[in-house]
């Protein structure tokens, strides 16, 4: 009988249905109220959780297990997205601000934990929770043209230090709570673990992943899976030394920072799956812990007030005094504050681990959720004001930030791809490859384009492929306008056109098989030297550079004033 076989949905299928319904509708609903999507996910988690509609039961293992993967992913992206170029550029200021933004809130956490009579471990973990931050409002400042401001750059660079220090503290606290060995042994084990993680992360993993991406990078699925395997390998390696896997995930993000450029195709996929599945699942799993009967008690609200005061006040003091010491004016210190105040990724990670270790109870978790909501809201509102106070400066494009490769051939030559990779890699840049053809030529088939993609990624270049019709002399100015590259590699030795505002590197292979190049267009001396340094290779016998000032507008012919560049 049909009716007899009809039954209410249950089990994993129902859990996944309600989970993804929350991921879909939660952010949509709260965005209509002008609130961040994160809040919709947290509230949605509450709605379907044991304290809401009880569709996900208290003892459920599926959603929390998926949430764990989401947490690893979140910390991985946090490491991946950090702008290491900015850190290099503003290293002194970043170290000063990073230490202040760690130490002051950390101390505030210690004072509050001690005053509340918490255990030492819980108190230290509260300090770690306060000291981390997430660059949630950075896109607002970057889009306002403030990405190159030294104060903004310092705050971005400082994040590497604060989050690393916070995670080190977390690792040690977690290690002491989970291991049965002597405390000294645990600390030594963790210290060795960090050395190994740093060694593998700095030396081995980037090489292995680079090689893997060159071998299999043409396959989009393989490219993504290589990155995920690297993430999980580092997380597992951390566990070997009794270190929380999220720290391994964060190190994996730092290790692959340059291989997975922020604007590249690989990052696009990493972020897609992260923002569509993994990270929302994690945030929803946190929302399951949200309990109004606990959150809206006097005790929890008082605790939330103290936590907000400690975390946000600590960051404010740190930014104000470190900013003053570094010579930044008040609006710039404000920019530093809105960048370092938001608590999200690492805060959630520390809180969840504190909860799992039995160091934090549900009232602390709920109070921290209040902190997250308040800190994000405050920073988002303040950021809108800060951008109006700050002086705008033309953002200086980093040389290898976005490399455009243009060719008339069926695919770019090895010489062009080598040059593009060398230009992009040191800055963690990505690129575009434009293949142009004459009007009469047929459009390349999908299989041919796939082959070109494999060729591009085989050189370790994270680039998007575009085809167009027309001579190179027209295609390049068009592509420059469309993609706004920082440098263009022209795969045509006879190319003789200037495009304003961007250096063109024209490559060719000599009869003897040597790669040579010349630089055309408007570049400052520093960029010229940097191009020569990056492309300089002992195998290159002769590098020539032609320079001239660009015309006022449009493209024009260059003259043949050549300059030699000595190989590195």
């Amino acid at each position: 009988m049909l009716v007899a076989s009809i039954q209410a949905p249950s089990g994993a299928v129902l859990e996944f249905l309600v989970l993804f319904a929350v991921i879909l509708f939660g952010p949509l609903v709260v965005s209509r109220l002008g609130l961040p999507g994160l809040i919709g996910l947290l509230l949605g988690g509450f709605a379907i959780g044991p304290h809401g509609l009880d569709l996900i039961k208290a003892g459920d293992q599926t959603v929390p297990a998926l949430g764990q993967l989401g947490l690893l992913y979140l910390m991985f992206i946090a490491g991946l997205e950090l702008d290491l170029h900015v850190l290099r550029k503003q290293r002194s200021a970043a170290v000063v601000l990073g230490l202040a933004a760690f130490a002051v809130p950390f101390s505030a956490g210690l004072v509050i934990g001690w005053a509340l009579g918490w255990s030492v471990a819980a108190t230290i973990l509260l300090g770690a929770l306060f000291s981390s931050h997430t660059l949630i409002v950075y896109p607002t400042l970057r889009d306002a043209g403030l990405g190159g401001n030294p104060a903004v750059a310092s705050a971005v660079g400082a994040t590497v230090l604060t989050d690393t220090l916070a995670l080190i503290v977390l690792a040690v606290v977690a290690g002491t709570q989970t291991a049965s060995a002597d405390i000294t042994v645990v600390i030594v084990e963790i210290a060795v673990g960090f050395v190994v993680l740093a060694g593998v992360g700095l030396l081995l993993l980037p090489r292995l992943v680079d090689r893997a991406l060159r071998m299999w990078g043409g396959d989009r699925v393989a490219r993504y899976v290589v990155v995920i395997v690297a993430l999980l390998a580092m997380a597992a390696l951390a566990e070997v030394f009794g270190i929380e896997p999220i720290i391994g995930a964060f190190f994996a993000g730092l290790a692959l920072n340059r291989l997975v450029p922020n604007e590249g195709q690989s990052m696009d996929r990493v972020e897609f799956f992260g923002s569509a599945v993994f990270v929302p699942v994690f945030v929803v799993s946190i929302g399951l812990l949200l309990d109004p009967s606990v959150m809206f008690t006097t005790e929890t609200l008082e605790l939330a007030g103290l936590i907000c005061l400690g975390a946000l006040g600590g960051k404010a003091i740190a930014c104000w005094f470190a900013g003053a010491a570094l010579g930044f004016d008040p609006p710039e210190r404000g920019a530093m504050y809105v960048l370092t105040a938001p608590q999200a990724a690492a805060t959630l990670a520390v809180t969840l681990i504190g909860f799992e270790l039995g160091l934090f109870d549900t009232s602390v978790v709920n109070a921290v959720l209040v902190l997250i909501l308040v800190s994000i809201s405050v920073a988002a509102v303040l950021a809108q004001r800060v951008v109006t106070w700050m002086p705008r400066g033309a953002a200086h494009k980093v040389l290898g930030e976005k490399v455009l490769v243009a060719t008339m051939a069926e695919r770019p030559s090895d010489t062009a791809m080598r040059a593009a990779t060398r230009l992009a890699r040191p800055d963690g840049g990505h690129g575009e490859v434009v293949i142009t053809r004459t009007a009469g030529e047929p459009r390349p088939e999908a299989t041919a384009l796939r082959s070109v993609e494999r060729h591009i990624f085989g050189h370790g270049f994270d680039g998007r492929l575009t085809t167009t019709v027309g001579p190179l002399a027209e295609a390049v100015p068009w592509a420059v306008t469309e993609t706004e590259p920082s440098v263009v590699v022209i795969d045509d030795a006879d190319f003789d056109i200037l495009v304003p505002g961007v250096p063109l590197v024209v490559v060719r292979v000599t009869d003897s098989g040597e790669d040579t190049f010349r630089v055309v267009g408007s570049i400052d001396a520093e960029d010229g030297r940097e191009i020569a340094r990056r492309l300089g290779d002992p195998r290159t016998a002769r590098n020539r550079m032609r320079r001239r000032d660009p015309p006022e507008n449009g493209a024009s012919r260059s003259t043949d004033t050549a300059q030699s560049i000595a190989p590195r």
Partner: protein, 272 residues
Amino acid sequence: MTAWGQPTGWAVALAAIAAGLTLSGCAVEQGAAGAKFVPRKPGVLIVATSFLPAPGFWFGRGAKSGFEAGLALALAHKLGLERVRVVQVPFAKVTHGRLDGADLGLSQVTPTSERERTASFSTPYLIAPPGVLGRRGVEAIDLKGLRSLHWVVGRVSTLTPIVRNVVQPTSPPVVVEDRSSELEVLRSGRADALLVDLPVALGLARAEPGRFHVLGQLNGGEGLAAVLPKGSPNLDIVDSSIRALTANGTISSLSSKWLGSQADVPLILSSP
């Protein structure tokens, strides 16, 4: 010049890391933030349980051996109490949160929505999928095999509907009142198999290896949790303590010691 730039920057950063490590290393004290456990009797954790002895969970002289006996002691230490006192309370009362003066109940109880109306449950301390306890010599490797066995079920067991609706035995199961009667039927050979929480099945098989063995586990199932009186202010700190004992490996080692490994029990798929 280093990646951080000035050597002084490195030195300060390393000093901060060293300070953090040292400070974090002092964090040996156990315990959750804020919450305090208030025992009925100072210094004593009074634990209610129903089945004495319960193989694998409470047995031996003074019922001091077994998984839940060890868990009770570890919880007491975690909560800063000196000793454990065990009181026997009928299962129906324990599941309703009526603990006869005990602080909490540890009696292989699975939280259900109905039970949560009258009692508070901690976070689970053991994952408990349904486990098939069979007579020695009885074998089944799939649902079809399970279907052909003779079953015994408890009248009020939360697992009885699984036997009826998922296993769907070809012969009607023997229905009895409680677990001791279920085991009697199994021992006498009037039934081949009994569905109980897997940790319980493991405990029973370990206690009587000549008579019983675990045929397999079914997918699904929730956990075993501590029972507290409804609305108990001690719930949060008991929860935190169970999470801490899970994190530091205490529960895992107690489970290995008294129950054996759940992972070694073959999974019998009960749904497509």
